[in-house]
């Protein structure tokens, strides 16, 4: 069943325009957006989150155009993690996580949900710390917990993330992605994330959306068959390996980048 559908969406940014993008995302599906720098991955994500409005084309979420959703109704179905986080005042982590639920009219289980979301992401001991004292990775986890808290008690929502693992150390990345995907599966949420790490994209996501600089979207299922498409997209040769656990790993080969133009 289709949850989010993009119909020939075009976004003009200054002189150049991106798109047209057409894409269908099912309930309970995990989709990674990959592509070279500047291809328009973040723009695509911002179109889906409603930050940008499409110049032409339509975005349909749950059979209704995205523009027709009220801010509040939408916030109960979709959570967004932006690429850059800012804060003007040093709020305690507990409150930042709780802000995920700020638009709820009544929220009787607020405290319980906040501590459960924090526990899920291993933040129980950081709840009373103010966010200016947290490290980059801890701050990223606080915002992930905020996203989780936002969709804690609903089903069939969707989570949009722009490079969620950028500030997180390698030891923690897999733990966080696994936790997040587990949460999404449990609540039947769809996850759409811009990923830079191809192996994370291959390991945790069902499908890859390849954003070409030309504006074309190419959709492949993650796995061995994605290799050719990825090589073409990034203009590198990849070597496919199996790690000790039998998971697929793709590594770019040294000195094999094809020159363009």
């Amino acid at each position: 069943m289709t949850m989010l559908r993009l119909d020939a969406v075009v976004k003009k940014l200054g002189r150049h325009s991106l798109g047209p993008y057409s894409l269908c995302i099912q309930h309970n599906e995990c989709v990674a957006i990959v592509g070279p720098n500047g291809a328009g991955k973040s723009t695509l994500l911002k179109l889906m989150s409603g930050t940008y409005r499409a110049n032409t084309g339509r975005i349909i979420f749950n059979h209704r155009p995205l523009d027709c959703w009220t801010s509040q109704a939408l916030s109960e179905k979709r959570a967004v993690l932006s690429q850059f986080q800012e804060f003007a005042f040093a709020l305690p982590a507990r409150i930042v996580i709780g802000l995920g639920r700020v638009a709820r009219n009544t929220d009787p289980d607020h405290h319980q949900i906040v501590s459960q979301a924090a526990g899920l992401l291993g933040l129980t001991h950081h709840l009373d710390q103010t966010i200016d004292t947290l490290s980059g990775g801890e701050l990223a986890r606080v915002h992930l917990a905020r996203v989780v808290a936002q969709l804690w008690d609903v089903e069939h929502g969707f989570i949009l993330m722009d490079e969620p693992m950028a500030a997180v150390d390698p030891g923690c990345q897999d733990f966080l992605l696994e936790t997040l995907m587990g949460f999404a599966r449990l609540r039947k949420h769809a996850v759409i994330a811009v990923m830079h790490d191809l192996n994370h994209a291959l390991r945790y996501f069902n499908r890859l959306v390849l954003v070409h600089p030309t504006g074309k979207l190419e959709i492949v299922t993650s796995g061995q068959e994605a290799k050719n498409a990825l090589e073409h997209l990034f203009k590198v040769r990849l070597s496919c390996l199996k790690d000790e656990q039998g998971d697929l790993v793709m590594l770019p080969l040294r000195g094999q980048r094809q020159r363009t133009g």
Binding site: S71, Q72, Q85, E86, L91, V102, A103, T130
Partner: protein
Amino acid sequence: MSFLKKPKTCVFLLFIFVLLLSILGALQKGAFPIHTEVWLSLLTGEHPLFKSSQNGDIYILWYLRIPRVMLAVLMGAALGLAGTLVQGLFRNPLADPSLLGVTTGAASAAALTIVFCSGDRIAMFGMAKIWILPIMSFLGAFLTCMTLNVSSKWLASGSISGLLLLGIALNALGVSIIGLCTYLATDEQLRNLSFWTLGSLAGANWTMVVMMWLMLVIVYVCSSRLSPRLNALSLGEVTAAHLGIVVSRLRWSISVMVALLAGLSVAFCGVIGFIGLIAPHLARAVIGADQRVLLPLSMLMGALLMLTADTIARTIVIPAEVPVGIFTALLGSPFLIVLLRTRRHRIG
């Protein structure tokens, strides 16, 4: 007494206690010292409203001292609240209604009203002061807020120096309008005008106290309902929108509230700067940045600061008095410089 175990409740109780003590202290100080037994007699029913014989002490206490002290407390609370709201709105710890030109905007609207909008000037003045001036200063403050709102969009979001520079421009505009009014004013109007530019609580009466009280209660109730949203706004406008907040509506309501607070306080007491900057900072240092507790504590802080400043202003050169705006500026300017120093890595 389980609520006493919460540290935040204790902080509030402590500050309320200190404020009450300061009020009692301030009631006794003045050009005409009033002893404890006199104000105690007010409680026992020896009230000028009930008694026709006009006892001097009680008259001074009831018609001059109490309204003045009450107005100082309410003004301080209003300025503290306005400062916290402006800082939350612009996501900027260095914002303040007086630094950003909001109070100057209100004062210039008041000055225009005094000079141009009175036919029989002195006769109209008594009544106008109660209604026309507050309305005009509200409009002036609101206009400034909206200008800031619109132009802070094309400034870099969250830029401290950009916002302060914009405040300088708006302040300059307001000051030049006041200057123009001073130039055109008659002698009588001139005296009223200097009252607005310096800021003083000397004109306090019960009508002002009641109006200020009502407005403060209304604005506080409305703003405390919005305080979780202000917390969300501190994460940035885009994130706040993702969290389900209609940012433009929030900006509008906060602007109206700030304009109400700044407009009424300017109409009654003139331009009193820096309380709106210092109070939220002290409160944040004590209790943290959570707007839900920050709003009431900044009001308490503002009330304390204002009461202290006003008591010093009216007792330091007895029997004359110094405009309180001078004191708050003396206190506030070094404070601002220290703030600029400690936050210099974030400026720009």
